[in-house]
Amino acid sequence: MEFKKILILVSTLFFSFGTSWADTIKIGFNVPLTGFAAADGESALNGAKLAVKQANNTGGVNGKQIELVVYDDQASPKEAVPIANRLIEKDGVKVAVSGSYSGPTRAAAGTFQSAGIPYISAYAIHPDITRAGNYVFRTSFMGEVQGRAGALLIGQTMQHRRVVVITLKNDFGKSLAAGFKAEAANFGIKIVNEYEYSISDRQFGPIVAKVRADKPDAIYASGYFFTAGPLVSQLRSGGVNAPVIGQEGYDGEQFIKIAGASAEGVIITTSLDRDSNSPEARSFISEYEKFSGNKVDMVSASTHTAIKVVVAALRKAGTISPDAIRKAISQTKLLAATGQISFNKLGEVRKNVEVQIVRDGDWHYHSTIRDQTLLAPPNY
């Protein structure tokens, strides 16, 4: 553990030295830079840094430069609360963003809420995060919302009836499955079987054998690229050819690298359209690749969006009073890489769900789900 602490110390020193002499506006940022979620953490940090760089290049906020105060939370709830306290008390941030998973984001949300500091979850999807209170917002879909979109996609758009659900057993997979199951019957879907796996699983032989016997029309499988990649490739080589429908956890080039040819035809619900004509999305896609050397993924796009919302709110508020920032965020009307962003009463984002498909080794446009009644997040 000592080693990790030193690393964190070194990296925070590194991040803060460059700009700390100047009169800056600080944005707090917790992100998993070590541990099992470090890959998503790297994308999140790059997305955030790009957004800050772009904001500073276009004049910063009322003449002041923006500084990102970064802490590694290892995607662990027990790291997140001390980090939130440090950001609020020691660094004195007036607004913060989570570039991390649901566990730590949920834990930190309460701390930011009771300190009255606005906090935006960039891509953590647990429903309780925004329920921490009126200072907490989310710029990505709740798990349930995306699960409902999955049901519409499979039952209505693709007209599949017999579906096997493979669920990642954490709050991400569970809330996706809950949304999917709640709407499945309404779209004529019969759930043949549901299997669960844990985040450390990479070997799905038993599930593949059972799914082959189930003979489903389609498979709704939640997971991150590092579980979904092996899962899809093992399903295909195990002779299961039913279409696989996933979600934003798959979203990135890494999934395609792992699953290889098996990735072809996989369809996901997500928030970034690679083939979008929107100048916001186009510029993000090219700028991000230039900035980080990697291709865009859902995590980088979502984090970029979250920081962009914060910057817009800071510019609009014209002060660094947390109350004014909170009010400005709640009134956000902004076009970002992940679409048109505005919030409901609970602080949940309202936007369309993008559906992407893997073709010729890359993510492409499949369809867009615009049913705002189905996609409406809860108001309380």
């Binding site: 553990m1 000592e2 080693f3 990790k4 690393l7 070590t34 541990g35 099992f36 470090a38 890959a39 953490g41 790297e42 057993k169 549901e194 299997y195 669960e196 796996y197 844990s198 450390s200 699983d201 990479r202 070997q203 032989g205 038993p206 599930i207 054998a209 059972k210 082959r212 016997a213 590092f226 990649g229 092996p230 490739s233 093992q234 080589s237 195990g238 002779g239 890494q254 690298k257 792992i258 699953a259 290889g260 990697n294």
Partner: protein
């Protein structure tokens, strides 16, 4: 048919566990060290395999580097990390080992990137059904490799003078030394062989998943401990039986208990149940 497939899948998983846990067992048997960093060597095998294959395109070369390279690193870890603290109480090497394991994970992340490394042209992925059993080529290779490697280990320890010296040192190190066996060399050999098995397992899993991640060893780091306890600490035969049984139980458990318990929990419930009936594990003694 489904049951047979689940059983085979269980044996497959179990043989990977066996490759990892046997190395841990022989280290424990000789030195009474719980070598957690063994799982870090397993990850290193995954990296050696994928990096060498991606550069040279040769699976055999990748396998050789993964096994021998990791074997040498095993010796280095013993020499630098464990040998200086062998006379300390057992928790001292255990703590050193846990620290070393975490450091290795973070080092892999810094060296090879947090996104993990994949095979540029994934080998052995095609389905090869034999007699109605659907397994990929890589999975057949896994089963074959564990039989060959663990069989080779058994042959080495039973049929060669080297093995005789090794077993003598495990039974009574001082007595063996008085007969002219160099205990230091036996320890090097011990770590070399144990690490070779871990390196092979790492490479195999890297191919099966087509993904080598810095944290690939985190589950094996504790599950292999459960397996060697199940097998009766220090017993190679017990470890084999424990690893294979656990694989099979997990395979059925994933399907029929998956909503209640996840795969790792199943392993520990099994461990608790066995220890309630047989407090010293399923087997005891070499």
């Amino acid at each position: 048919m489904l049951y047979l497939e689940l059983f085979i899948q269980g044996l497959l998983q179990g043989s990977i566990y066996a490759l990892i846990a046997v190395g841990l067992t022989i280290v424990y048997g000789l030195l009474r060290i719980l070598h957690v960093a063994h799982a870090g060597l397993y990850t290193l095998g995954g990296y050696f395999g994928v990096l060498v294959f991606n550069i040279t395109g040769s699976l055999v070369l990748g396998g050789l580097v993964a096994m021998l390279g990791v074997g040498i690193f095993g010796i280095i870890i013993y020499r630098l990390c464990y040998q200086p603290i062998l006379d300390q109480p057992p928790y001292v090497p255990l703590i050193a080992s846990i620290g070393l394991f975490i450091a290795m994970e973070e080092l892999y992340r810094i060296l090879f990137g947090s996104y993990g490394v994949t095979y540029s042209n994934p080998p052995l992925q095609d389905m090869m059904p034999v007699g109605g059993i659907y397994l990929r080529q890589g999975e057949w290779v896994t089963i074959l490799a564990s039989i060959v490697l663990i069989g080779g280990l058994a042959w080495l320890s039973r049929k060669t003078r080297l093995g005789l010296a090794w077993r003598a040192t495990v039974t009574d190190a001082e007595m063996a030394e008085s007969f002219g066996i160099d205990p230091i060399r036996v320890r090097y050999l011990n770590f070399f062989i144990g690490s070779i098995l871990a390196g092979a397992a790492g490479m195999i899993v890297g191919i099966l998943n087509n993904l080598v991640e810095p944290t690939m060893g985190s589950v094996p780091s504790y599950k292999a401990l459960a397996i060697i306890v199940l097998g009766g600490l220090g017993s190679v035969r017990g470890t084999l039986v424990a690893a294979l049984s656990l694989g099979v139980i997990e395979s059925f458990g994933t399907i029929y208990l998956g909503e209640v318990l996840n795969r790792d929990a199943i392993a520990f419930v099994f461990l608790i149940l066995v220890l309630m009936v047989r407090p010293k594990g399923m087997f005891r003694g070499m």
